[in-house]
């Protein structure tokens, strides 16, 4: 493996966090620093296409903001129903058409593997903006970027994941990515929503251990990072089960009394009620910075994949 440079990413796709080596991840995170406050015309004349087969206003706006800040233009569609998946033009054909209209594509799709297929159809770079329950690599990169900013690196910290760890795609990808680094995992969830066995095996296969608990207060005071996710009612076959846990995993100023003073709380957003608004003004709240970091990391990625760099 040669040295990684800005040119290493030119013309590539970003479909899965698996596609990136530790060195590539670190390169991207470091390169992204240049884009923190960048607004200019680096990508003037370039077009980003957003093809969204399910709505995700937040992700779409973040990508659009990124491209516009770089002086590029955006076009695209966002369909509100899943019907577009089952009828009409094949994904392959849509991508083959759109590649004639743009320089880079962001795809969001309810089916897993859709972004991989799009990347195979397309001769221009494709970024996965979320494919079903599978991957959302720019979310993972912005999570890593946020952690590395507040911790000044990605080693030597204790991270707790709270909430829905069974279906939480962001949790799965972040855990996978963090296996490259030296940190301790704490998984806090109701038993029915605990981390799938496969991921636990993967962690063990890396020679690492982890702590699993249903009670946040058991571990909260030890954590440097607390990654909160939403628990959705639909995930519970039995509504009674949901009623039992729905108020257990809510972050209030009160439960934060004995935490480390540099604890940072992250959340992929949007939140519902799992972090109270009163927490926003505490020094622990990092989740809005995290969203802003999303634009920074996406600017850096678009620049790298297009091979037009700062």
């Amino acid at each position: 493996m040669g040295n990684i440079t800005e040119k290493s990413f030119k013309g590539k796709d970003l479909v899965s966090i698996r596609d990136l080596s530790k060195e590539e991840i670190l390169f991207i995170l470091n390169y992204a620093k240049k884009f923190e406050n960048y607004r200019g015309n680096l990508l003037s004349g370039k077009i980003l296409a957003t093809i969204f087969y399910e709505p995700s206003t937040r992700t779409r706006l973040s990508f659009e903001s990124s491209m516009l800040s770089l002086g590029g233009k955006v076009l695209g569609f966002s369909s509100s129903s899943s019907s577009s998946v089952s009828k009409g033009e094949s994904l392959w054909d849509t991508v083959k058409t759109v590649e004639g209209y743009a320089d880079i594509i962001v795809i969001r799709h309810p089916l897993e593997g859709a972004a991989r297929l799009a990347s195979e159809a397309s001769s221009i770079p494709v970024i996965n903006g979320g494919d079903g329950a599978n991957q959302h690599p720019t979310q993972t990169l912005l999570d890593l970027y946020t952690i590395s900013k507040v911790r000044e690196g990605l080693d030597n910290f204790k991270i707790g994941f709270l909430g829905d760890l069974k279906y939480g795609r962001t949790v799965h990808s972040l855990v996978q990515a963090l296996l490259n680094f030296d940190c301790d995992f704490y998984f806090i969830s109701p038993e029915v929503l605990s981390l799938p066995l496969g991921f636990k095996e993967e962690i063990r296969a890396e020679g690492k251990s982890f702590v699993e608990t249903e009670n946040l207060l058991d571990v909260l005071s030890q954590l440097d990072i607390l990654y909160v996710t939403r628990i959705q009612r639909e995930r519970f076959p039995d509504p009674m089960e949901y009623e039992k846990v729905k108020n257990v995993y809510i972050i209030t100023p009160d439960i934060l009394k004995d935490v480390k003073k540099d604890l940072k709380i992250l959340h992929p957003m949007p939140r519902v009620n799992e972090i109270l608004k009163e927490v926003d003004k505490l020094p622990y709240a990092e989740y809005f910075n995290q969203s802003k970091n999303g634009v920074t990391i996406r600017k850096a990625l678009i620049s790298l994949l297009l091979g037009v760099t700062l």
Partner: protein, 154 residues
């Protein structure tokens, strides 16, 4: 070898390929996986006695020399299968089928939400050999990992 005498129950092959030591009951499936249809004469033997395996299936395909990579697909349904190329009644080459690192087109993804179950594309799986000898397959598209017996052959 005694076993060999018994396998000759089906008429002796002059030229072609013998696939032996198939898991009992899998011969038809194996033919399907190989994608062999018509043209060549095929003998199918099922539930033959085998010292090693108890029972086994066997396939003989006349006048066709199968390539190892074609036969390797069979390792998925029958890990102990062997391949012999016969020329003028003599065994010219004999080897065991082994699972390739990548399997394309013969396995259906077990994830109902996988794009391969919606779009007309060839499936692709990576073979993961777990330390305890267990075989797992990871879908190139949806990235789900399946145990070998959790997936269906197309």
């Amino acid at each position: 070898m005694k076993e060999n005498d018994k396998t000759i129950k089906v008429s002796k092959l002059k030229n072609g390929t013998v696939i032996d030591h198939l898991k009992p009951g899998t011969a038809i499936k194996a033919l399907h996986v190989l994608g062999i249809e018509g043209g060549n004469a095929i003998s199918i033997g099922m539930y033959f006695e085998s010292e090693k395996m108890g029972k086994k299936d066997i396939l003989k395909i006349e006048n066709k020399e199968l390539k190892p990579h074609e036969v390797n697909k069979i390792a998925l349904i029958s890990p102990n299968a062997t391949l012999s190329i016969i020329e003028n009644y003599e065994v010219k080459k004999k080897r065991r089928a082994y699972l390739p690192d990548v399997i394309e087109g013969i396995v259906k993804c077990g994830n109902p939400n996988c794009i391969t179950n919606y779009e007309n594309i060839r499936t692709k799986f990576y073979v993961i050999k777990v330390s305890n000898g267990e075989i797992k397959l990871r879908c190139h598209y949806c990235e789900r990992v399946f145990k070998k017996d959790e997936v269906e052959l197309i």
